[in-house]
């Protein structure tokens, strides 16, 4: 042995007798890593551009609206938000759709494409936990993107001295709507990503489905209003996550309406609630069924 202390000693194999994480802590590790990956954190620099760029684009209109509200409230005689909280996600829906479509494959397709799923399934974590945690990561990331501009609008509204009670009520309603919107969008995009291992295909499929469904729903709503059959438009809202989450806010809270045929009456309210439950739960059940077939 050299005396200079410059020798690398081979310590041999060392075991580990220290404490181990509980199942819940392990699930949290998976949740946090999924959430970080949705924003490109812990991945290459290039993979940060799209999610963080979209988040910036989401915030930009809200920032301008807040600027106008704070600076020119009296000049323009404004007494409420220029774009209501409940309408904002519908206005910037393309950005939200692109985000969820592009990031769902990051959480779901990657593990299947590289077959890393085998390494996860060979760990103590249950298959169901893996699927639910992955879903929760994507839904949370989507919620952050949807809710961040709403928070900016809310803070701006308070700065502009809009009525605090009314603004808080509408903001909370919008957060509930954002949560449902994120859960439905996340679930839908997750199912598509888990079914197609090809990333580009999954991204395109999700965007097309979301854009088309919104287009069809608004067309039906417009026609149903003109032809005096509002129930048709109320029912059709269930078929786009954007109109569904908006109708849910109208049903549960007193918020400004953005669709020509808002839900009216108990039947329409019940329809909206049932459709929301289905839209949130069905994708989760499909995901669980999909992963039961993955043998590792």
């Amino acid at each position: 042995m050299s005396e200079q202390g410059a020798v690398i000693h081979d310590l041999g194999y060392r075991g580990y007798d220290g404490p181990r994480l509980s199942d819940a802590q392990v699930a949290r590790v998976l949740y946090v890593s999924g959430l970080r990956h949705c924003f490109g954190l812990g991945r290459s620099g290039r993979s940060k551009i799209l999610p963080l760029g979209l988040l910036g684009l989401m915030l930009l209109p809200a920032l301008i609206l807040v600027g106008v509200l704070v600076q020119a409230k009296d000049l323009l005689g404004l007494s409420e938000q220029i774009v209501p909280y409940s309408t904002y996600p519908i206005t910037v829906q393309l950005l939200i759709s692109v985000f969820v479509a592009a990031q769902a494959p990051v959480v779901f397709s990657r593990d299947l494409r590289f077959r890393t799923i085998t390494l996860y399934l060979a760990r103590p974590l249950r298959r169901t936990t893996y699927v639910l945690v992955r879903w929760a990561s994507l839904v949370t990331a989507t919620f952050v993107v949807v809710a961040a501009p709403l928070l900016l609008l809310y803070v701006g509204g308070l700065l502009a001295e809009l009525p605090v009670g009314r603004e808080t009520g509408r903001f909370v309603a919008a957060l509930a709507g954002a949560a449902v919107l994120s859960a439905t969008l996340g679930g839908l995009a997750a199912v598509v990503s888990a079914l197609t291992v090809r990333r580009g295909l999954a991204v395109a499929a999700v965007i097309v489905v979301l854009v088309m469904s919104y287009g069809v729903v608004t067309t039906i709503q417009g026609l149903s209003e003109e032809t005096g059959r509002p129930w048709l438009g109320e029912a059709a809202a269930a078929f786009s996550p954007y109109t569904l989450s908006h109708h849910l806010q109208v049903t549960l809270f007193d918020v400004p309406q953005a669709t020509p045929t808002p839900p009216t009456g108990t039947t329409a309210d019940a329809w909206t609630l049932v459709a929301t439950a289905v839209a949130v739960l069905l994708p989760v059940l499909l995901l669980l069924a999909r992963y039961r077939k993955v043998s590792g």
């Binding site: 041999g12 580990y16 181990r20 994480l21 590790v29 998976l30 390494l119 996860y120 043998s295």
Partner: protein, 308 residues
């Protein structure tokens, strides 16, 4: 206690029976699981991990039932799959740390152990690079590292030498041997190449079409075959001259390849035959270079087993 124990373990698919009433017991050290492709090796490993339910029968790993206590099994077992399973855009270090955490290691411990096992498997600076750019040898090492990171008591290595060149294959086999001996972790290692496991395993289990063909200590596979190998020198046709002389003295002798003479012991005692060979060699004025028992290789046993 047996590390792995299966009882009448059966796995049937609609068209094939992958495992047929398999009774196997595996202990500590390195156990080779040998069989042709499709013999049921990977199916057995997936059942042992609790990832695939058996059709009937039972299996336990480290005392835990694989069906009802799958999570407990997976907490103490490391698995190196046969197929590719490494994300191309992640470094070996990041993946190993992450999977260590998923096996219950707190972050600081996961980092420390990932560095340790990556060093043991021989990944140096490249462990910080995305794995998409790795050679097959480096990928196999990264796959092995993630199987070891949580300090398992048993590792299941599915075809770890697949796709490796001869030098990397030898290094991987040496590593497998070290895991079973120095690291003190029980190893079940599969291969469809029969010869390579006899060098590293203490015990060999041979599967054929989902059934157990043979399970015994590696040394038993290499039993004496009942023949002696003799090498002599002294003149150009030394081996032929000795062979002829031995036949003249009533022994059964034949060319053993590479100028060796193979002598059957037959009903006589091995010592008598040895003495006779030595005496004959001396009488002919030849020099005796080597006189040893001829041993089986695992391939021979396997071939014989299949003929039966």
């Amino acid at each position: 206690m047996a590390v792995i124990e299966t009882r009448a373990l059966t796995k049937r698919y609609p068209r094939v029976t992958a495992l047929d009433a398999l009774d196997v017991s595996v202990g500590d050290g390195v156990t080779g699981l040998v069989g042709a492709n499709g013999a049921g090796k990977s199916t057995l490993i997936k059942i042992l991990l609790g990832l695939l339910p058996p059709t009937s029968g039972s299996a336990s790993v480290l005392g835990h039932d694989v069906v009802s206590e799958g999570a407990a099994v997976r907490a103490q077992v490391g698995y190196m799959p046969e197929h590719d399973c490494l994300p191309a855009d992640v470094s070996a270090n990041d993946l190993t740390v992450h999977l260590g955490q998923l096996s219950g290691l707190p972050y600081p411990a996961a980092r420390e152990r990932a560095a340790d096992v990556l060093r043991h498997v021989g990944l140096a600076e490249e462990r910080y690079r995305p794995m998409g750019g790795y050679s097959t040898g480096m990928k196999q090492r990264a796959k092995l590292a993630q199987a070891l990171v949580h300090d398992p008591r048993l590792v299941l290595l599915d075809e770890p030498t697949n796709g490796l060149d001869p030098a990397s294959r030898d290094e991987m086999l040496a590593l497998v041997r070290r895991i079973g001996t120095e690291f003190g972790i029980a190893v079940l290692v599969t291969s469809h190449l029969l010869g390579e496991l006899e060098r590293v395993s203490d015990h060999v289990v041979v599967l054929d079409s989902g059934s157990l063909l043979r399970s015994s200590a590696t040394s038993a596979f290499l039993d004496a075959t009942g023949t002696l190998l003799v090498e002599v020198q002294g003149r150009a046709d030394a081996d032929r001259a000795l062979g002829q002389a031995l036949v003249d003295r009533g022994l059964t002798a034949r060319p053993g390849g590479e100028r060796l003479v193979e002598v059957e012991v037959g009903d006589r005692s091995a010592d008598d035959v040895r003495d006779l060979v030595v005496a004959t060699t001396t009488d002919l004025g030849l020099g005796l270079v080597r006189l040893q028992e001829r041993h089986h290789r695992i391939e021979d046993v396997f071939r014989e087993g299949l003929d039966v």
